[in-house]
Symmetry: C2
Subunit: 416 residues, 2 copies
């Protein structure tokens, strides 16, 4: 079956530093594909699509399309939206109206679920359309793919911040005894583990790494910290925001409102760990919480990651025009004797809503650090840097013209 | 008076990304100065000096001395130590023992106070020694100097993070309505103000900037946030950790221990502001707290700043061997028609313990943003980037051999 018609690109979930590399790869390859006429983009993912927030990406300048390769954030706009039963009819009508025969959804687990549902919807309604999921996530928790585009850049940034703030901790007497870095990752510890890529000598930060894959034990944690501090005179802890104790409850969940309707402080994980330490032992603790800077730090992205993000975008189009549908494109590695990756694919149904957590061989026996198996896996993914055009001392990121025109109107509307 | 003898370099206070540029400039210029024989470094500032933690910087490789130019953190080790009456005799004895005729102290306000005291000590005891303060601080709060080395790099990093996390906020529907970035600066808002360098279009982040120079009004703050959110659909707030309300009390101070001796959570400023918003209006808020990464982000340092940090180190030696003493070297600017800076100097007594806060012409009338006067002042300071050698995907920072040998022994000793 060779389809001919228009193409639609959308993205969803949290952005990564390099997600727009995938968008750029998708746009450029779709533009030069004889089977694809107009290349559309939906703003704000499925949510925007349902409101027909559609732009013609063919109207964008070459400068903008190239600029996506060094611009972080969700250039098309993103959403977190679970598709509802009543949306299906509307979606199908829009696909038909715009003669969409190729639909590319860039995102993580939830987005792959959405893509899968749309693929089934089209099939069930006898509407010929190729649906391809394009992976992205800083959490690296998508299954089957060796790793996810977006992970390497966030990992490189985390490792570099740990290297730098580790020097800060080691070199000042009597300022802080313990540094705690809180890293993103609710259920998978890949990004937290990446901190270990900062360590090249035994005394270097980080010293302790706590992952959601290991049930957190408060007593053991305090013991670990005290032991390290006794040995080195300082201790650098990296911990996932999603740490849970044995009964499965989060160590630091957002608190509900109190009896007066006032919201209680949402104590973050780092603050919780700090409290655990300072309530028990006489150590000074300092917390760093990088928040959304982790997933948007294009200024220090991995070149390997950016190239692979572009590659999955480009090859997603190639697979689609070959007639494939209902799949997620993914990365495979061949790292002997040196790291090489290539694209492959897997059924969307095998990806949707499945999270890939860290395997036990990558976590040490004590459950407070990673093994060399992890280092060997993650190290190639953070290699290389990106050159970004600068303006007035900060990166000169681009905005799509279509997005600029529609964005402000849309975000201000009460419907959102 | 032309002194001949040895030189001692030390540093104190929190590090900056480029403080080691000053150390590198000091070492290289001291090495080629005919009046200076051995170039010593004291580890961990005055505190280490009092314990005779002294290394011969002449033994360091050229690679290490050059490597200081791209290595963040306190390469000599730093301390926060207020000089005591009983220390004076010991200090003088050490200066005499090592024939120190040139003493350079790299630091901020407190360090200039220490340098001033040592200068007076030497004079009163008839010991001929040139004492020069070399400025460094990310806070930019040293008086007389146009700006402080270290500020430009931290400012560039903050502005870039705001640009990137600003895109993250704008581009995702229904994830967060408000982002709050907490920035260092207890009494001076210079670094917080630097966030404004990220903004090139009216909708761009940041939208609101709160500085310690302006008494914080809770009602006004909520009004500001709601108004911005109504207009744009999102709101990016940047605030100094040292915000105070009208009576002078900090908005977010570290809490004392409770009746049981348990330390209470030290609620950060960002968490406090988040609580203020969410307890009153239905908006989702996300906090980013960069912590020590602000002052150690060499991976994104300003070239202008790094060059100037090197310059003040180099010229400090030149002033010393010309016979000057009891001064802090500083930067003057001539920015017509383009930014140029040169070194000058001021008496240490005029610097010690005086903080330079932001002048009223750089703060808008509403007290919730900066003016163009600030932009014009700060923009040239963040220009240019640094190329850093990489190893396994992260920066290959150096450690001084002398520091490596003594560091671990020293930090582990109970005396520290």
């Amino acid at each position: 079956m060779t389809l001919k018609g228009n193409c639609l690109i959308a993205q969803s979930g949290g952005p990564t530093a390099v997600i727009n590399n995938s968008i750029s790869g998708l746009i450029k390859e779709a533009m030069r594909s004889p089977q694809i006429n107009t290349v559309y983009g939906a703003l704000f993912g499925i949510k925007g699509l349902l409101q027909e927030q559609i732009i013609n990406l063919g109207n964008e300048s070459r400068h903008n399309i190239e600029g996506l390769r060094y611009t972080p954030g969700a250039a098309l706009g993103s959403c977190r939206y679970k598709i509802q039963d009543e949306d299906y009819e509307r979606l199908l009508a829009i696909f038909k109206k715009y003669d969409i025969r190729y639909f590319f959804y860039v995102g993580g687990n939830d987005s792959m679920d959405t893509a899968n549902k749309i693929s089934i919807l089209a099939q069930e309604n006898g509407y010929d359309m190729s649906v391809i999921g394009v992976p992205k996530t800083v959490d690296n928790d998508l299954p089957h793919t060796d790793h996810s585009p977006g992970y390497g850049s966030a990992a490189k940034y985390i490792a570099t911040v740990v290297k730098e703030t580790g020097l800060d901790l080691q070199n000042i007497l009597a300022s802080s005894d313990v540094a705690i870095l809180e890293v993103m990752g609710r259920n998978a510890g890949w990004l937290t583990a990446a901190a270990a890529l900062a360590k090249h000598h035994s005394d270097d930060a980080p010293h302790l790494i706590y992952l959601p894959e290991v049930a957190f034990e408060k007593e053991k944690f305090i013991e670990d910290v005290v032991k390290t501090h006794k040995k080195l005179g300082y201790c650098y802890v990296v911990a996932s925001e999603g740490l849970r104790v044995k009964d499965g409850s989060y160590l630091a969940a957002e608190k509900a409102t109190d009896a007066f309707g006032h919201a209680k402080l949402g104590n973050g994980l780092a603050a919780e760990l700090k409290n655990l330490i300072t309530s028990r032992v006489n150590l000074k603790v300092r917390c760093n919480v990088l928040g959304t800077s982790q997933r948007s730090a294009m200024h220090y992205a991995s070149r390997t990651d950016a190239s692979e993000a572009y590659l999955v975008g480009r090859d997603a189009v190639n697979l689609a025009v070959k007639g494939l549908s209902g799949i997620m494109i993914m990365l495979e590695r061949d790292d002997h004797p040196q790291y090489i990756s290539k694209t492959s694919f897997v059924d969307l149904s095998q990806v949707a809503n499945i999270e890939k957590t860290m395997p036990s061989n990558m976590i040490n026996e004590d459950g407070n650090y990673v093994t060399y198996d992890f280092i060997r896996y993650a190290q190639p993914l953070i290699e290389g840097e990106i050159s970004i055009p600068m303006e007035k001392g900060v990166p000169a990121y681009v905005k799509l013209d279509g997005y600029k025109k529609m964005h402000s109107l849309y975000r201000k509307s009460p419907a959102c």
